[in-house]
């Protein structure tokens, strides 16, 4: 065990992955000698050489196209998109290519060895182009897996599982937590399961669900509610695609209430998908409508970030609304 922040944990996972398999590569903008703008790939070029860890030109569609080719060839590419806000030039290579590679070829070819890492989310005064949470765009694409960790321990275990998984995985890293989130992380190799949510706190009155950096906010709101005598079950979804319907549904059957929070805008966000599925699965158990506490349907603001975000107070209010419905 060692104290690590999320960047250390990610760097440690990449190191383990590159060490165990010579065909594993890390690349992206500024990823080489500099170690990435957030330093997630720090030291990897020195250790594994320029052939396996390198800078690419500034061309996101090229980075993912290149990664798709590498994965189809049998290498294990870990491609970095410097900010999730800049992933859209690569949308075609992710949505039309990576996600459909195996299906369209009848399993003649696949890019299962591909992992795409990208810092995402707000809370760093990044304004509209350094704060976005684009998971819902990709969640509409069969063939992808989408993973979002909440702390360093989760980041390492989920990233190692993503790299080794035989499907293309989008791994979104909450950049607000890169240095802010510190915890005990085993120095040895371990994996956490993809496609499985985790119950972080058990409770009986309402189920609270989030992923990534929202987990910390959610816990704060749950603590406030506890002072009012409201018992919250807190769940980290971890995998956006495929997502763990059973764990959420079983919890809601028990509590009778569900609140989902996400950083992304409200309309057609992943919280909406969860709300629709849970009302289908748990209709007769629900005591109140499913609450969604999300960003506004606007671009991500700068000066008014505090007002925009789904903070612990907005969540706390929604918990009370739900319980008192």
């Amino acid at each position: 065990m060692a104290q690590m922040n999320m960047l250390h944990a990610i760097n440690n996972a990449l190191d383990i992955a590159m060490d165990e398999d010579e065909s594993t590569l890390c690349f992206g903008e500024d990823v080489g000698h500099f170690g990435g703008v957030f330093r997630a790939t720090s030291g990897l070029q020195d250790k594994y050489g320029k052939m396996r860890c390198f800078n690419t030109p500034l061309v996101e569609q090229g980075i993912i196209g290149f990664a798709n080719g590498l994965a189809a060839q049998g290498s294990r590419p870990i491609a970095e998109i410097q900010f999730a806000d800049y992933i859209f030039p690569a949308f075609d290579q992710i949505v039309n290519e990576a996600a459909k590679f195996r299906y369209r070829s009848g399993n003649e070819f696949d890019v299962g060895k591909l992992t795409i890492r990208s810092p995402y989310g707000g809370g760093i005064a990044g304004g509209l182009y350094h704060s976005q949470s684009p998971e819902a765009y990709f969640a509409h694409t069969p063939g992808l897996k989408i993973i979002i960790p909440r702390n360093p321990y989760q980041a390492k275990g989920l990233l190692l599982a993503s790299i080794r998984d035989d499907n293309p995985v989008l791994f979104f890293e909450p950049k607000r937590l890169y240095r802010a989130s510190v915890g005990e992380v085993p120095t040895e190799d371990y994996q956490l399961p993809l496609g499985k949510a985790e119950i972080v706190q058990t409770g009986s009155d309402i189920t609270l669900l989030a992923w990534g950096a929202q987990m910390e906010i959610l816990q704060k709101a749950a603590d406030l509610a506890a002072n009012d005598g409201i018992s919250c079950e807190v769940i980290d979804l971890r995998s956006i695609l495929p997502w763990d319907v059973d764990t959420i549904a079983n919890s809601v059957i028990k509590t009778g209430r569900l609140l989902v929070t996400q950083e992304a805008p409200l309309t057609a966000g992943f919280a909406s998908e969860i709300a629709a599925t849970i009302q289908q699965e748990c209709f007769l158990h629900l005591e109140s409508p499913v609450e969604r506490v999300c960003g506004l349907d606007t671009p991500y603001p700068l000066a008014l970030e505090k007002e925009y975000v789904a903070d612990h107070l907005k969540i706390y209010e929604a918990i009370k609304r739900s319980v008192n419905y």
């Binding site: 030109p57 290149f66 590498l70 189809a72 290498s75 195996r102």
Partner: protein
């Protein structure tokens, strides 16, 4: 450090532009239409066996295209794309490679797959999207692929294979393989961002990839002069610092030669090569369009006189590697075989209902499995509405 990259010209004290079309690009021609070789030509490495194989592939290509366009007209096939007039680019490219080299195509390069030995049955099963299709009946006709033959399954989005070819070739280099990747695309696709991404990354990342542009003059109805300016696609290669060669795309010997030297160079130097093959799409873009709406018969006739197959035939006759009796017998046999294969393939069943959800992931997710069960229950309730699958699971 970066200054080392520049090949600086003279320092000037008055603005001195270089012209946007000033790059002069030589075009390789070896074989003339009458079957004679230009004097002083550097011949490709080609013996009688290879020449006969290439020529027979030409014939197979012509017959398959002719029969499948007819089948589409008869309503037996939903869609087809012929490569009439530009078969030398795909067949010659494949003939200049080794079998272990990966070919990543756009969609009009079935000739390369034929050369590699994809069977008539495999072509048919794909086009009729039946149960024996390697692609499990999921893509429109002509989206072939074969792992065994190192021919990447085609995808409709244009140009996406270009940066992928760079990555594929980089992986081959990383593993020290005696293999390169050849990537086909049209001059229209070279307008896509992926073209520029793929070429730039190949140059920077030093990938042994051959970019093979089939410049056939048209992207559906849009002529090349409404697609780009400057000196063709070849001039782009120069801009990216890539070794570039333009060839007569209807000259099989020039195409084979270009590919052979490109392969040797890419492998030895770990660097990309760009080949621009100048040709003409004599047929329609696909069975869904009619070229008479966007070009003249005179223009087509001019190019018909440049037929790459006739040109090779003249050369083969002169070599005494081919004769008219062989020609007649070959075409007759091919037409019979293709017709018979159509009749077989169109009767083979559609893929099993379970292939609806397989290969989306390595293992279907719980959601997918549940969705398939719902569909099956529904089919059982209304079997007459789903004749391909009802009662078969």
């Amino acid at each position: 450090m970066s200054n080392e990259l520049y090949n600086d010209g003279p320092i000037v004290h008055k603005p001195t532009f270089i012209d946007g079309t000033s790059v002069e690009i030589p075009e390789l021609k070896i074989l003339q239409q009458d079957g004679t070789v230009y004097e002083g030509s550097d011949m490709p490495d080609i013996d009688e066996a290879l020449a006969v194989k290439v020529y027979k592939t030409f014939a197979f290509h012509r017959v398959l295209d002719e029969r499948m366009v007819a089948s589409q007209r008869q309503g037996r096939l939903s869609f087809y794309m012929a490569a009439l007039g530009e078969e030398a680019a795909s067949i010659g490219g494949a003939a200049g490679l080794k079998p272990q080299d990966m070919i990543m195509s756009q969609y009009r390069e079935q000739g390369a797959l034929m050369f590699r030995g994809f069977s008539l049955e495999n072509f048919m099963n794909q086009m009729f999207s039946n149960d024996k299709d390697l692609g499990k009946g999921r893509q429109m006709p002509i989206h072939y692929g074969s792992k065994e033959l190192n021919y990447m399954t085609i995808s409709s989005p244009l140009g996406t294979q270009i940066p992928q070819a760079t990555g594929y070739a980089y992986g081959q280099k990383l593993q020290g393989l005696d293999a390169v990747t050849l990537c086909y695309f049209g001059e229209g696709a070279a307008s896509e961002g992926d073209f520029h991404a793929g070429l730039n990354m190949a140059a920077v990342q030093e990938a042994p990839v051959i970019f093979f542009c089939r410049n056939n003059g048209y992207a559906i109805s849009t002529p090349a002069d409404e697609q780009f300016k400057g000196n063709g696609i070849a001039s782009r290669g120069v801009g990216y610092g890539i070794k570039t060669l333009r060839v007569d795309g209807n000259d099989i010997l020039a195409v084979v030669k270009a590919t052979q030297i490109a392969r040797a160079y890419a492998l030895k130097e770990n660097a990309p090569v760009l080949i621009e093959a100048m040709s003409y799409r004599l047929g329609a873009h696909s069975t869904s369009d009619d070229p008479s709406g966007y070009r003249t018969r005179e223009e087509e006739q001019k190019w018909q006189a440049n037929d790459p197959i006739v040109r090779m035939k003249n050369w083969m006759l002169a070599q005494n590697w081919w004769d008219e009796a062989q020609e007649t017998a070959l075409y007759e046999k091919l037409r019979e075989k293709v017709l018979a294969a159509v009749k077989v393939a169109e009767k083979i069943e559609k893929p099993h209902i379970d292939t609806l959800i397989s290969d989306v992931y390595d293992v279907p997710s719980a959601q997918l499995t549940a969705q398939l069960e719902q569909v099956k229950t529904h089919i059982n309730k209304y079997p007459e509405a789903y004749p391909f699958t009802a009662g078969k699971f």
